[in-house]
Symmetry: C2
Subunit: 398 residues, 2 copies
């Protein structure tokens, strides 16, 4: 008899964003520079206001904070949401350890083991990981590249609703699709929620990153959803502070928030010092985001043009967030991504991409796709796209 | 039809350590000072070496770190464990967001929903919360105050083993009991693990806090347990850095660690900056702990003597950690703790304790007990014990 893992311990998928890190480390050990298009780690400086608060913190003990987060931070968040038409009190906000924990808590409080969550696919790959942790099933509703990854029609959602369906989970602006849902699309989701008594969990961490004059609409601005709408949020992308692990959950459903507070108490509190920093980050002027947005729009154009130049490749022009799902003329995204790190370099450099199959729940989908994050400066990104094009050619000629 | 919480959303217990915070806030709002004996938040200064690293951090982007934690920190941890006779490599360590996440990951990787974990009770209350998150059952094996909360006899464990039992979870040195298990006791657990193919998850976050010349022994120094032993750890208590949310898990079981790495990838990484600080904290000289230990032993004596002076109260003298389970002459610990915050004060102050029922899984146990943390300076602690004694008297005379 030898000791066994749990079934979920086997089932938990490796993250397509991170599982190839050992191959990237191998490339770096050989002296090859790796352009990281695999992960949404922006190169934008974390705001000085955040660093200043952290570096001027005067307490001698790095102590536990409240389980629902520091009041001053939650007050700042409530003011921040008001700018987007979301009217909430600090009591309707619970600070979490990254957006990751916000998503996990939302799943735990709305679903029991075996329950189902409808998710337009492709979706943020780690939803699969959180679903395994929560022992729930992600039921995909496939969005199509040829439709610009817009919200699938209502009837496709209805078809998949069972008595185990408890929630719909969306990412808006969309990771990895770049889609920004219109108010009308969110109203369709609201109808589904109200007609079938489902929660809507909206992962809105990319709200600042919207291009070409499109408009982000929060799920919490759609009337009638006070009991149904949950925002999962994070400062990671907004303030280029991914390593802070500061996120939050927002809901007007008191019973739900009471439950999430108890989940939050079990883990005591989110990181204290980095919440202190986040309070500072909330004071950055609007001009910070204008500069950031102009920069990302340039990057978006470079990556979109770069993909368009690869024979046989295609993608939708992303309108939000900072990712694109690229269909490439390759047999297998996993093999290709690994090969790029293990066997290819151009001018001493290679590119790391995230194979897209892990962003789908339907087996077989996404096999010839990769997710690219456009989080590098324009010069690096131009170079990375040249390397990617050469890599695709060499991969198919190998 | 109105939207429902999940069953586990209902089941998740409020933390007995934190659920009375609104009453404490009420007392403070009335101008009453609250001595916090409810929570293990030490008043000892976080080491300068930790603050220095954080405040001198020169990166401009607060970026994601590796999912298993910064290599330099894991290297430092491996050296640290060697001092306790635990020989591990950095690859056998995964950094977690606090000891909380280490415990949750251990449960997820070893148990499926419905599985059982044997836990000597009383135990750290939040094990109940993590068990609800993981949809597993805590099966208590009752340790008795009159036996000094020593490990219950082997046959009591064997009686409770079913085909759903996957692990034994212990806290050593013990929160809330203050017990420090001997090598012989750990060998009994090892026999159980090997005979019944169970993991042993040892929460060893208090290893520095051992008094009266007793000796802490790590589960990982017991031969034969390479595949079975898992340490859940944290810097929170060791370096008085509870708000950092930096913990870690240790195991030599490669398959298990591979699985936990995938759980870790889903949530991306533990807090970056506070790991940087923790690298600094690992450099504190042994003398730091000697000073801390002398101080805690004084505190332990004050709290033990204080309880002994309350007519009808009793407790075991704790030998490790910084808690004590006190049996008080009261009808109900929850009611008493709330009453102390809502209706009692002496010289403008009151005391917050953690009602102990939440530290048991067997219904009815711990009802007339409270957990007290001795984490205040000796003067405050003397005062707090006077107030507690007066409070017990007034509560029973009300």
């Amino acid at each position: 008899m030898s000791i066994k893992l749990s079934q979920r311990g086997h089932d938990i998928p490796a993250s397509p964003i991170r599982k190839l890190v050992p191959f990237a480390d191998g490339a770096k050990a050989r002296g090859t520079h790796v352009y990281h298009l695999n992960i949404g780690q922006p190169d934008i400086a974390t705001p000085e206001q955040m660093w200043d608060r952290i570096k001027n913190y005067q307490e001698t003990v790095l102590a536990y904070g409240p389980s629902n987060g520091l009041l001053e931070f939650r007050q700042g968040l409530a003011e921040y949401y008001a700018k987007y038409g979301v009217s909430v009190t600090p009591a309707e906000i619970i600070v979490t350890t990254g957006g990751s924990e916000a998503l996990l808590f939302a799943m735990l409080a709305t679903c029991d083991p075996g329950d189902e969550v409808l998710v337009p696919e492709p979706f943020y790959a780690n939803y699969n990981g959180f679903a395994v942790q929560a022992s729930i099933t992600v039921v995909p509703v496939t969005a199509k590249a040829e439709d610009g990854f817009r919200l699938p029609p209502k009837e496709l959602f209805v078809e998949k609703i069972t008595d185990k369906t408890k929630a719909i989970l969306i990412s808006n602006p969309g990771n990895p699709t770049g889609v920004v849902y219109t108010r009308e699309e969110l109203e369709v989701l609201a109808e589904l929620a109200l007609e079938h008594d489902l929660y809507i969990v909206a992962d809105e961490v990319y709200r600042e990153f919207v291009y070409d004059g499109e408009k982000y609409t929060s799920i919490m601005t759609i009337p009638g959803l006070d009991q149904h709408a949950i925002i999962a949020d994070s400062i990671s992308k907004r303030f280029s502070a991914c390593g802070a692990r500061v996120g939050n959950i927002v809901s007007k459903n008191k019973e739900l928030m009471g439950s999430i507070m108890r989940f939050a108490q079990a883990r005591l509190c989110p990181p204290t010092l980095e919440q202190i920093g986040a309070i500072g980050a909330l004071t950055v002027p609007e001009s910070y985001f204008e500069g950031v947005l102009t920069e990302y729009q340039k990057r978006r154009d470079i990556i979109f043009n770069g993909i368009s130049k690869i024979p046989g490749a295609l993608c939708c022009q992303p309108k939000g967030a900072f990712y694109v799902i690229a269909k490439l003329p390759i047999d297998d995204g996993d093999a290709f991504a690994e090969w790029m790190l293990s066997h290819f370099e151009m001018d001493g450099a290679t590119v790391m991409v995230a194979p897209a199959a892990g962003f789908y729940a339907t087996p077989g989908l996404g096999k010839d796709e990769c997710r690219l994050a456009y989080v590098l400066n324009t010069e690096d990104l131009e170079k990375a796209m040249e390397i990617l094009a050469a890599g695709v050619e060499a991969y198919n000629a190998r």
